[in-house]
C-alpha cells in the first residue's frame, strides 16, 4: 500500500509541468521545515542558551546581582578552584548523592515489586493503579508543605501512626528537627511521591515481555525462581534503568520539597546542591560564585547522564 502511493506520487510529480507543481506544492518542504522548527529553536536560544552563556561569562567575574552598578572585574577561574577545594561544597555534593542513591534504591525496589504484583492482573488492578499514580502528579511544593504538618511531633499524623504501630511516644522524635531523621523525612516524602513513577514504567516493561518466552521456559521445566531471574528481570531491565535515569536527573535537581520541608537544616544535614546554590545566589548574592557552581552542577548531571545512557544502550542491545 505505501509503496503504491509513493510511486503514484512520483509519477504524478513527473507528469506535472514545472509551474503547476510549484503552485500546487506551495512552500517548498525545506521552507516549511525551517518555518516550523525555528520558532522553538529561537525561544530555546533566548531563554535557555543565552542565559547559559551568560552564566558561563558571569562565573569568571566578581559580579554581584544586588550591586548592579559596581565595576565588574574578570577574575578567571578563581571561583572554580574555590568551589572544587571548598569542603562545604563537597558536603553538599555528598548529601545530594546520598539522597539520590537512597531514594532511588528504595523507589526502584518498591516500584518494581508493585509493578510485578499489578502484572498478576488481579480484579480491579486498573483502578488501583490509577489510585497509586495520584501522588506523582501533584505539586511537590504544595504537598511537601503539607507534609511538614504530618511530621509535627505532637500533633502530626505521621508521628501518631508511627507511635500507634511501634509504641514510641509521638513527641519523642522529630522527623524534621533531628540530624539523623531529617534526611529520611525527605526520602519518605520523595518515595511516597515517586514510587508510582518507577512502578508505571516497570509495568510497561513487564508487559513488553512476550508470553512465548515464558512458555518456552515452561517446556524446559524452569522453576518460577529461575524464570524470574533469567527472563523477567533481564527483560525488564532496560525499563528499570530508564526509570532510574529520569528519577536520577530529577532528584539531582531536587529543590521544592527540601526547601519546604527542612530548608537544608538542621544545620546543613539536608543541604542538597540546589539549596546551597539558592543560598549563594539569592541570599548571599554571590552571583559569580554561584554561576560557577551552577556550571559545575550542569556539567556533572550532563556527564553522568551521558555515561548512563551509553550503559543503557549496551543493556538494550544485549
Amino acid at each position: 500500500m505505501p509503496r503504491t502511493l509513493n510511486t503514484l506520487a512520483e509519477r504524478a510529480a513527473a507528469a506535472t509541468p514545472q509551474a503547476v507543481a510549484r503552485r500546487v506544492r506551495g512552500l517548498s518542504d525545506r521552507a516549511v521545515a525551517w518555518a516550523f522548527i525555528s520558532p522553538t529553536i529561537v525561544l530555546l536560544l533566548a531563554i535557555n542558551i543565552f542565559p547559559l552563556v551568560w552564566t558561563i561569562w558571569l562565573s569568571f567575574t566578581n559580579y554581584r546581582a544586588n550591586r548592579p552598578n559596581a565595576p565588574v572585574r574578570w577574575i578567571g577561574g578563581d571561583w572554580y578552584t574555590d568551589i572544587l577545594t571548598n569542603p562545604d561544597i563537597w558536603v553538599a555534593m555528598q548529601v545530594t548523592a546520598r539522597f539520590v542513591i537512597a531514594s532511588i534504591a528504595i523507589q526502584t525496589v518498591l516500584g518494581f515489586t508493585l509493578a510485578w504484583l499489578i502484572d498478576r492482573r488481579f480484579r480491579g488492578h486498573g483502578v488501583w493503579t490509577t489510585v497509586i499514580l495520584l501522588p506523582m502528579m501533584l505539586s511537590p511544593a504544595v504537598v511537601g508543605n503539607f507534609w511538614t504538618f504530618l511530621y509535627q511531633p505532637q500533633i502530626g499524623l505521621f508521628n501518631y501512626m508511627v507511635s500507634f504501630v511501634t509504641g514510641v511516644p509521638p513527641s519523642s522524635f522529630q522527623m524534621l528537627g533531628d540530624v539523623t531523621l531529617s534526611p529520611w523525612a525527605i526520602v519518605i516524602v520523595d518515595t511516597w511521591m515517586w514510587t508510582p513513577y518507577v512502578m508505571l514504567i516497570c509495568v510497561a516493561g513487564l508487559r513488553s515481555i512476550p508470553e512465548h518466552i515464558y512458555e518456552a521456559a515452561e517446556i524446559d521445566r524452569a522453576s518460577a525462581w529461575r524464570r524470574f531471574w533469567s527472563i523477567t528481570l533481564p527483560m525488564a531491565l532496560p525499563f528499570i534503568m530508564l526509570a532510574v535515569l529520569f528519577r536520577g536527573i530529577e532528584n539531582f535537581k531536587m529543590f521544592d520539597m527540601v526547601n519546604l520541608l527542612t530548608g537544608g537544616g538542621p544545620g546543613s544535614t539536608t543541604e542538597v546542591a540546589s539549596i546551597t546554590l539558592k543560598r549563594e545566589a539569592f541570599e548571599k548574592w554571590r552571583t559569580g560564585y554561584s554561576s560557577a557552581f551552577a556550571i559545575i552542577l550542569f556539567v556533572t548531571v550532563f556527564g553522568l547522564a551521558n555515561i548512563y545512557v551509553k550503559a543503557l544502550n549496551r543493556v538494550k542491545q544485549r
Binding site: 505505501p2 503514484l8 500546487v24 506544492r25 518542504d29 516549511v32 522548527i37 520558532p39 522553538t40 525561544l43 530555546l44 531563554i47 543565552f50 547559559l52 551568560w54 552564566t55 548592579p68 499489578i118 498478576r120 492482573r121 488481579f122 480484579r123 480491579g124 488492578h125 490509577t130 489510585v131 497509586i132 495520584l134 502528579m137 501533584l138 505539586s139 511537590p140 511544593a141 508543605n145 505532637q154 500533633i155 499524623l157 511516597w192 508505571l200 510497561a204 515464558y214 515452561e218 517446556i219 530508564l242 529520569f246 536527573i249 539531582f252 529543590f255 521544592d256 540546589s274 546554590l277 545566589a281 539569592f282 552571583t287 554561576s291 551552577a294 552542577l297 550542569f298 548531571v301 547522564a305
Partner: protein
Amino acid sequence: MPAAGLSTAHSIVEPTPLARRIAGTIVIAYAVLALIPLVWIGLTSIKSPPDSISYPPKVLPWVDFEPTIEGYCNLFTTRSRQTPEYIASLPPADDRCEALARGKGMVVVGPSNYVPRFVNSVVIAFGSTVLAVVLGTLAAYGFSRFRVPLKDDLLFFILSTRMMPPIAVAIPIFLMYRELGLSDTRLGMILLYTSVNVSLAVWLLKGFIDEIPREYEEAAMIDGYTRLQAFVKVVLPQATTGIAATAIFCLIFAWNEYAFAVLLTSGSAQTAPPFIPIIIGEGGQDWPAVAAGTTLFLLPILAFTILLRKQLLRGITFGAVRK
C-alpha cells in the same frame, strides 16, 4: 489440592487465583496507605483550627469532629481583631464567614491574596501551555517529516535544556528579566514556562506524529493540497489525542512549578505554589486554611490525572516508552 506440577503451560503464564488475590491485597494495602496524606488534606480543610491539631487525631467528620467552612473562610479573607464592644455595635453578619469571624472576636476586613494567586496560576499555566503546544506541534511535525540537518543533535539539545537545575537557570533569567522589565510579570513567567515545556511538547508530539502514516498527507497532496493544507486538514485532526495529552502534561507542569515561581515572583505575578506555604493565621500556621488552599489547588490535577491515565506513561518518559 490440584496437582500443580501437572498444570498446563497456560496456567504458568496465568497466575493462580490465590496468587492473584495475594497480589491484589498487597497492592490495595499500599494504595490505601499512599492515599492517607491526600485524604488528610481534605479532612483538615473542614476542621476548626483546634480540631486540626488535637491529639489523638480526629478522623471521622460528624463523629469525631464537627465539619466547618472556617478553613475556607480563613483562606479567602483577611480578618482583624476588634473589641467585643465594637463587634456588638455592628449590624448582624450577612454571611457565614463574617459570622464565624465575629464568633472569634474578629471582623472580615477584606479578601485574601489567594484568589489573585490562583488566577495567576491559571493564566500562566494556560498561556504557557498554549504557546508550548503550538510551537511544539510545529517543531514536532518538522522533525517528524523532513530531513533536517543535525536532527538528532537538535532534538538532544532540546531535551538537554531539561537537565539544568532550575536554580541555575534562574540566576541569569533573574538578571535578564530585570533588564527587560519582565521581573514579576505574567508574561515573563509564561515565556519561561513555555521554554521549559516546549522540550516536553516536541518530544511527545514527535512520537504521536510519527505514528500517523505519511501516506495520508501524500495522498492529500496528490489531490492538490499544499504541504500546509495537508498539515492543517490531515495531520492535525489525526493528532488531536496526542496534542490534548501533551497539553495536559504542560498544564500540570506549569501548574505545579515552584522553584522559578518562588525565586522570580513576589507579588503581582506570584502563583499559588509559593503562596500556599506562607498562609499564616494568628499564632503560626493556620493548617485548616493551608489545607483548604491545598485542596482547591490539587483538585483540578486529580481530575486531569484520571482523565489522562492511558497517556501517563508516555508523558512522564518524554515519549520514550509507549504502550
